[in-house]
Assembly symmetry: C5
Homo-oligomer: 360 residues x 5
């Protein structure tokens, strides 16, 4: 559940309290036994892809004429992270942020480096569980580093494929274009989540309109939590993207900025969709609650009609069930039929009354 997610992270973060500000502490959940590190370096002519098993395998020097992309799955190995930091000359505060897996999406634009934090959402096949994975980017002049928590699924595979097949502009461009492509893959992936949420909304609407009782209340609550979680990921992401695009910085070329603007457009579209979902969910909730009230009204009407008709009749029957010695009506020849007729008149009158009141 969304709620659980958000508190779990605070818990871990709280455990860091009391340490000096820059201490490297992993605050997430360990996903993989070992971090999986791959290094791709390419230019228009060639592409080299290697797997890095340990910190010592890291390349001592980064080729100036190539774009180098280091991807790290699993960020719990502090020594490894520190080695990467030393190798690529990263600031300790960046490493600290990489290890803290409950960052909110943000962009920090330094002189020689852009540091970017985003969230990758994935929707589990069954049930309403959106899992969140933090992805950190470091963009420098000729390299990009990405740090993932190492959960299952990876939206970067398509970018990798494109590089390998030398498709599109990817191979001809600089590190900033690769950086854009990776961000774009993450932002585009939100559409998949939004589609799933949209489907759930549609199903819920059907359930409510057709009066099915599939735990509508819990469903509403779950959808609300989900939408909250997606919003929380996507709003700051937009801000971070805008900041990256606007900030004066020589790392990102003017032509890449145009592409980034496209990504921002997508993010805005996603935000609008999620806000529409929120409104629709609120409308559905109103609808559901009003439906409940409506049904209640109907139930109450039935109860009232039945009670109001039969209680007076029962009272009359009760009166003539009394055992008084002297009850003249009881002796009458047609007393019984007279009383039945009176009862009929009363009952009929009641029905008439309800029809006039439009209750029937």
């Amino acid at each position: 559940m969304a709620l659980k997610y958000s508190t779990t992270n605070k818990k871990r973060k709280a455990s860091k309290r009391g340490l000096p500000p820059e201490s490297l502490v992993f605050t997430g959940e360990k996903m993989l036994a070992e971090p999986v590190v791959s290094l791709i370096s390419f230019n228009e002519q060639e592409l080299e892809e290697i797997r890095i098993g340990s910190a010592s395998d890291l390349p001592p020097q980064i080729a100036e004429d190539k774009v180098t992309w280091l991807n790290m799955d699993g960020v719990h190995d502090i020594t490894f992270i520190e080695a990467v930091g030393k190798n690529f000359g990263l600031h300790p505060l960046i490493l600290e942020d990489v290890l803290d897996t409950s960052q909110r999406p943000k962009a920090e634009v330094y002189d020689d480096v852009v540091f970017f934090v985003a969230r990758m959402l994935s929707h589990s096949e069954t049930g309403h569980v959106i899992s969140v994975e933090q992805v950190c980017f470091v963009l420098s002049k000729n390299f990009v580093i990405t740090f993932q928590e190492g959960k299952q699924g990876d939206v970067f595979e398509e970018v990798r494929e494109r590089l390998r097949r030398s498709k599109g502009k990817s191979r001809k461009s600089k590190a900033d274009y690769l950086f854009y492509e990776l961000l774009d893959a993450i932002v585009d992936n939100y559409f998949v989540i939004l589609e799933k949420v949209g489907n759930e909304l549609e199903e819920l609407e059907d359930d409510i309109l057709k009066n099915k009782k599939n735990a509508v209340l819990h469903e509403l609550h779950n959808l609300k939590s989900e939408i909250l979680l997606v919003r929380k990921s996507i709003w700051p992401l937009r801000d971070a993207l805008t900041k990256t695009e606007r900030e004066e910085n020589s790392l990102i070329s003017k032509s890449t900025r145009i592409y980034l603007r496209d990504t921002i457009d997508h993010a805005i579209q996603e935000i609008e969709t999620i806000e529409t979902y929120r409104d629709l969910l609120a409308s559905l909730q109103d609808l559901y609650l009003s439906t409940l009230s409506n049904k209640m009204n109907e139930v109450m009407k039935l109860l009232t009609i039945i009670t109001t008709i039969f209680i007076p009749l029962s009272f009359i029957a009760g009166v003539y069930g009394m055992n008084f010695k002297h009850m003249p009506e009881l002796e009458w020849q047609y007393g019984y039929f007279l009383i039945l007729f009176i009862m009929l008149v009363i009952g009929g009158g009641m029905l008439k009354y309800f029809r006039v009141k439009k209750w029937l």
Copy 2:
């Protein structure tokens, strides 16, 4: 239903994920078998109107001294679109946006071209179905291109008529005035939708005030979705119009900007109307729910009055219906009449009590 619309588009968009950023993929629904393309070129003296059957019919050169307007209905034919793009020198990102029929209204002002995305709403004759059609505009120095999805109905016909009959300023002006006229036609068309929504609101108000039960709840929900949909189209449209009017750009002349400002005024008026409708709808919903509560209260009162009067009386009748051997009252000469009188007193007292409490 509005809800369905919004999710359908995300679904298609999501299917594009994994492709390189600029790939041309059609993400909408195919409306026409073939795209219908017409080309009008005119100046004050003459007007030529031709139908373009295939990509090869596109004019190799655009007349410098005329205004050329290419209108394309149906944007699923990617090769055709690409040919148009090549012919008029459009940027690949523009073509990508044209093919993606779930864009939000926006304006992009380049050096040599203004790209504008708007939505055309139309209200089906029966029921509450607002259908949405995306329209993309490309304005250059001497031509305007419009791309429509190809749904039924077209608000541009009136502009075409004006051009043919040489009415108004249309024929004497440049491409920017044509561009304004087309935008104005779209914005003015929203008033028709708003009028229909307003009528539905009025009917709903009548239904609620006169206590008719025409599925008020579903109606409320539908109207909410409709208003949400119109808002979603009209708010970004205003922003896009304002951006177009403000941005320093030589394509749009100062005099046309004054007309654009008028269009913006209309858009603002529409926004205000839609916001008023939202407030009125909320007020109607409150009214309806309170009416429900009120009725419930009345029903409960009736139930309580009847029950409270007759249950004690029935109890008394029950007591004297018991079969004990020794029940002295039963032997009394006027026991029966005494009891009837006591019942009358109790019942009358109850009625009195309810009258004092103002329940009757």
Copy 3:
């Protein structure tokens, strides 16, 4: 009703769709058979007041050393309006706006002219009907033109009186001061409407607090619509006034601007009042609904108390009303009295229980 007003206008506006942008079409409701036009021209020494019967009576020249005020009641006579436009050199867009009686309040500051649209509200004597009349102003160097729809009632009469009697600064000042006086009359008139709305709120509060049932729900709904309507008129009016006061423009002198600031102050005060009314109305609605719930609770309690006491007792009576051959208790000498005593104990116990639970 407010709701009806707002949709009616859209309807007429929608009918204009399809015409070229500047066509003059009257979109309002015809109020007078003939437009009533009066022309006052004055300076400190003299004042001349003439009635203009037809377009040909319009003065060919406007005196340079006098202030001329043309007031037109009824804007459905398009030829007349066009003649006025030609006579005073007005831009066609201004005439178009004058004829469209569903404009939102706005100010447009041109080089030689200020065009201002405001709304005059009036409250009918009986019932909750606020009627809206659009007033357009054209301010030039030495004349002011006002266009009214021609509904009954006119807040300008007092200004006219002041001019005639040479009271205040009016006669000594230029056209801009007259313009300010007319705007001030309109803004001050809102206080009258606000007072009436305030009185209705007070009455409604009384009705709710004293539990009177004068169709509270419909009253709440009507007041909400009224407040919505007043807000819709007053918010853009404030913006228009501010724009007029701020915009660099030689038509309005510095000293008149100080007076305009006073008018803006009044408008802000009115806005604050209307917002307070909105909050109070929301609070009243909460109060009313809670009162309903509360009453419901009381009704339910009474029902429950009566039922809970008598149903078990009736059951006991029912048991001893059974006709079994062998029911030993029936034969007992004091069986009847014993049972009556048991019933008394049960009933008393129930009452005790309810007293402990604080239901009685």
Copy 4:
């Protein structure tokens, strides 16, 4: 009641309509038979305090080397006010604002004068009546004029005392410091009101938590109106203070501005408190309404349990109370006891069912 206050004022204001803009009309309620006017003039060495009985007693000249403070209680005497205006050279618009006792707090910074309008709140000893008194300030180089409506109670007495006893910085400073001290006295006085409102909130919370029924609904409504009234006074006051502090003006020295900033801080703190109260009140209202629903649920459960157990049993008793000739069970030796046993089983089963459902 707050509501009444706000409308009363509009009523009087509306009565002013139709008069020329600058006419001096008193729009408030007359509090005192005669205005009470006192004049204090002081410097570090000496302090003179005189009572001014009529307009003719006003000092013809204001000492240049002293600070003069004229305080006027009661602003209904227009001739007196006009005399003061002439004596101290005040602008007619200032006098008009002084006479209009429904101004919203505001600051107007002219070249030679600062005009400030504030509201003094006081809480009556009994009940929830917050009374509002408008106080106007005029600050010039060497004098301060304060106009009060003349209601009971005066937060300025402490300032006067300080001046008399030569305490603090007061006697050594200029008119601007006196102006600050007076404003500070008004702002600090809000804390007293807030404390009272806070106490009422606490009492209300107690009442709701402990289920006391002291007209909670009306109390909620009253508190809401009170909070609305305080907000309406305090928000614009903060804006006016900030404007006074920021505006470039030689009347207020840099050192006094530092003190004013402190006053602004207090105003912000008060705003925050009042907003917190609003949130708490909303939370209390939710709590109360939910408590009602909860109780309703309990009542309904009891009703349902009793009814559901006894109605079937009564039915059985009714069946065996029928007078058919041939009812074999009635003849059985142990029929009665069997039926009693069956009833016991049914009743017990029902109780079991309710226990399983956790209703008991």
Copy 5:
């Protein structure tokens, strides 16, 4: 309770009214019998820590080449505070703010000193009591002074430990870094509170989803008050931090500003968490109330089903329990069985009806 806290402080503050602006009055609650004052002065080489018993023990001179940190627990001893003020050259307004323990978090950046007010929250072990302690900071070139109210618990101990052990950058840096470390300790401590609040939310969610009845309503109300309290502390803290970081000031070095930015990031993250909690709490409240409505509906249905089935049957039994002489059915051989059968049919029909209506 949060509510109580906030009003208590206003009460004390109100008691200060009537005193001259700069008078030193303690407005808090006395926590310690005696203030506990410690003084740590250090540079990279050495660290000296002394306990200061009385005002006379204060060091006459502050070492220029060391960082001096004076921490004072308990701020009720006005003479002591005044001595500190004189010793370190603090402005009287700072001392006044230190003594007023109901300040909202703020930063005031003077030329030679930064004055900062923050709040330290701590969560009691049992129950929902968040206690608030105000902490004031004074940062000058070579000293930091901290004033605490003296409640139990102190988040500064870890900083002290770090200084003693010469860990991290602490000992090598200037006073501004110490100032940052102390602020960071406070901000990080909020994560602990947020974690506890998050746990309570989770428990509440469990209680509601699993239908446990642990005074959910009061819990909701308490959590709302808690969240309100935390928000009220954390929002202005962020503003104060941002102001400190941005304001041009030579006291805080550029490198320390980078660290402050990190602290601001944490504060933003905490704000986001608290806002998410607010939304979740609102969703939980909706869920709870809807659950109540739902249960009510079920209860009502059961009641209606039982009543609707048995009341008509009881009526029939009542009819044949009447004692009329001539009731032919009573004489029939199988009258009893016929009636039983009719009752069965009616009861079965009712059940069928409820099944069709999906109530069963």
